[in-house]
């Protein structure tokens, strides 16, 4: 019961506590306007370059924006505690770490999902890209899978925040890596072999690929393999993140870096 409450109630309160620094004046432009600008930029680059597939750029750039809250808000679950001076209190609490941190991931996943859905829907309306209603359900599942897997990677970033003071720079680099490698603007199959190898291990790659297929009319069952891979990658990064959190928590007590990293 305690673990469940910590997961659901604790996760929601901490999300409000730690991600609240993004006031509406920052939150709305970051989550609603910036993804649209990114979509417009790449769609128009595509049109200028003679690649007349607006849908490809719309999907890639809309879905990848789920990574913004997933990476930054998760990274902030430790970084924000350090800034507030609450990190020692969190570490000195007897709370079980797995429900504590996974609970913090839940609102972040929802946030990422909503950002990507908004960007996709509004982008499609403004650019007059046709996404048949029959595909909406499958696309939503794919976006949810991407948000989950990306939050797993964000949890790894949160763990690193136990060792370094600033995680926003790292999250920006990871976001850039996803934009380049995950098939957002260039199909993975068109990339050099080593880049394809990297892409296979990144969140978003399989989910974005599945979203393209779903938008093209393929069934959810036919992309289930890609979505499962996406989720497994998320679980892999989340497990790595929780393991690293455990180790770095011990190390921070040994090296006295909880206040001073």
């Amino acid at each position: 019961m305690n673990s469940l409450r910590l997961f659901f109630v604790g996760g929601l309160i901490s999300y409000r506590a730690l991600f609240g620094w993004l006031s509406p004046w920052i939150l709305v432009p970051t989550f609603l306007f910036a993804p649209l600008f990114q979509i417009f930029l790449f769609v128009y680059i595509g049109r200028t370059a003679g690649v007349n597939d607006d849908r490809f750029f719309l999907i890639g750039n809309a879905v990848v924006n789920a990574a913004v809250p997933c990476l930054f808000a998760m990274g902030n679950t430790i970084g924000g505690e350090r800034n507030a001076g609450t990190l020692p209190l969190l570490i000195a609490s007897p709370a079980k770490r797995v429900p504590l941190f996974l609970g913090r991931a839940l609102p972040v996943i929802l946030n990422g999902f909503l950002v990507a859905v908004f960007a996709l829907v509004v982008g499609a309306l403004l650019l007059r890209v046709d996404l048949p209603p029959a595909t909406w359900g499958g696309i939503a599942v794919a976006i949810a899978a991407c948000s989950i897997s990306c939050t797993g990677l964000g949890l790894l970033g949160a763990a690193v925040a136990l060792r370094v003071r600033e995680t926003a720079v790292m999250s920006n680099i990871v976001l850039g890596t996803l934009i380049v490698f995950a098939g957002v603007n260039v199909p993975v199959t068109a990339m050099p072999g080593w880049m394809q190898g990297v892409a296979q291990w990144l969140p978003m790659t399989h989910g974005i690929h599945a979203t393209h297929d779903l938008a093209a009319g393929r069934s959810l069952g036919s992309v289930s393999g890609a979505l499962l891979t996406e989720l497994l990658l998320g679980a892999f990064y989340a497990t790595l993140g929780l393991t690293l959190l455990r180790w770095l928590e011990w190390e921070s007590r040994a090296r006295a870096t909880l206040d001073t990293a």
């Binding site: 305690n2 409450r5 109630v9 604790g10 409000r16 000195a92 609490s93 709370a95 007590r253 040994a254």
Partner: protein
């Protein structure tokens, strides 16, 4: 059979060394011994004070006891649990309150701060609501609990810290300079709260720079300086350790010639000082420990006009300063 009370906090030769590095490349290392093998024990229901100057090792000691820092030497047990091996057991049974503005979620209300920490400490939901209400009342934040903490004054934040530390009814409470930044009324209320907690059976380890606070509250005190405990005992024990005895202060209007020398020549007088205060002179006489020189000094002043006469014992502050300076 005689039952011997087992200490609630047992600290044996506890030590902590910090390694610091400077620069980016070929970083020269430096070792700082913050705590150099301190030992003490605190009984159940006792209020134990840890006094010392800034950087003496008080907070480092507390951080080791609440499992935030791993010791580099010695051992410590809290409620029978080793602070290194049984960290989780320790965490669930102790509370920790420190001074200062930080350590709260600014964007959340005071109420939500308490709710969240209640979740972290596994306080059952039904009990949590009641407990939060009780504590808000205890610390005088009823009516302000729904406001964001970012709008709280320093005193309100400190009171919220105290409520947070008590949420899970800890058996042992660590208070690290809890009255810092609180106004005199708030500090007095805090002392009453701490006294009540001790009366209800909570064991408290307190650090403070306010000597009157330590004197009023603590059953026993350890004075720590440069990472070592330099004295330990009740406040009265510590006062006894000072080389100064009773202090007599006499306000005299026109001190006769030669009186100063005569007083100084008294066998039990350790030192004499005169301070001119307007038309009066304040004669301050420090007696040898255990001696009372009031009558002897007054005899030398026969015929003089004098105002107030005060005889006071050496304070804990006198003892503290002497102990720390000697360390």
């Amino acid at each position: 059979m005689v039952r011997v009370a087992e200490p609630v906090i047992e600290v044996e030769e506890l030590a902590r060394t910090f390694h610091t590095r400077r620069g980016l490349f070929r970083r020269p290392g430096k070792e700082i011994e913050a705590v150099k093998g301190v030992s003490f024990a605190v009984e159940r229901g006792e209020l134990f004070g840890l006094l010392g100057p800034n950087g003496a090792g008080k907070t480092t000691t507390i951080k080791m006891l609440i499992t935030l820092l791993l010791p580099t030497g010695g051992r410590a047990r809290v409620l029978g649990h080793d602070v290194v091996k049984d960290a989780r057991d320790v965490r669930g049974k102790v509370g920790y309150v420190f001074g200062g503005d930080r350590g709260l979620y600014e964007r959340l209300s005071g109420l939500d701060n308490l709710r969240y920490f209640a979740e972290l400490y596994g306080v059952p939901p039904r009990e949590s609501k009641q407990r939060v209400g009780e504590l808000l009342e205890l610390v005088g934040l009823v009516g302000r609990e729904k406001e964001r903490v970012e709008g709280y004054s320093r005193g309100m934040r400190q009171r919220l810290h105290i409520a947070r530390g008590l949420l899970h009814r800890p058996q042992v409470l660590f208070l690290d300079e809890p009255s810092i930044g609180i106004d005199p009324v708030g500090a007095r209320e805090l002392r009453v709260t701490v006294k009540n907690l001790v009366e209800s059976g909570t064991t408290v380890l307190l650090t403070t720079h306010y000597m009157f606070e330590a004197d009023e509250l603590c059953d026993r005190i350890a004075v720590i300086a440069q990472g070592r405990i330099v004295a330990q005992g009740t406040p009265d024990d510590l006062k006894q350790q000072v080389t100064t005895g009773t202090v007599v202060e006499i306000e005299v209007f026109g001190l006769p010639d030669g009186v100063l020398e005569k007083v100084r020549a008294e066998p039990d007088v350790q030192s004499v000082a005169v301070d001119v205060q307007g038309q009066a002179q304040l004669l301050t006489v420090h007696a040898q420990p255990g001696a009372d020189v009031t009558q002897a000094v007054m005899a030398h002043l026969e015929g003089s006009r004098f105002g107030r006469v005060i005889t006071r014992q050496p304070t804990l502050e006198d003892a503290y300063i002497e102990l720390v300076n000697a360390a």
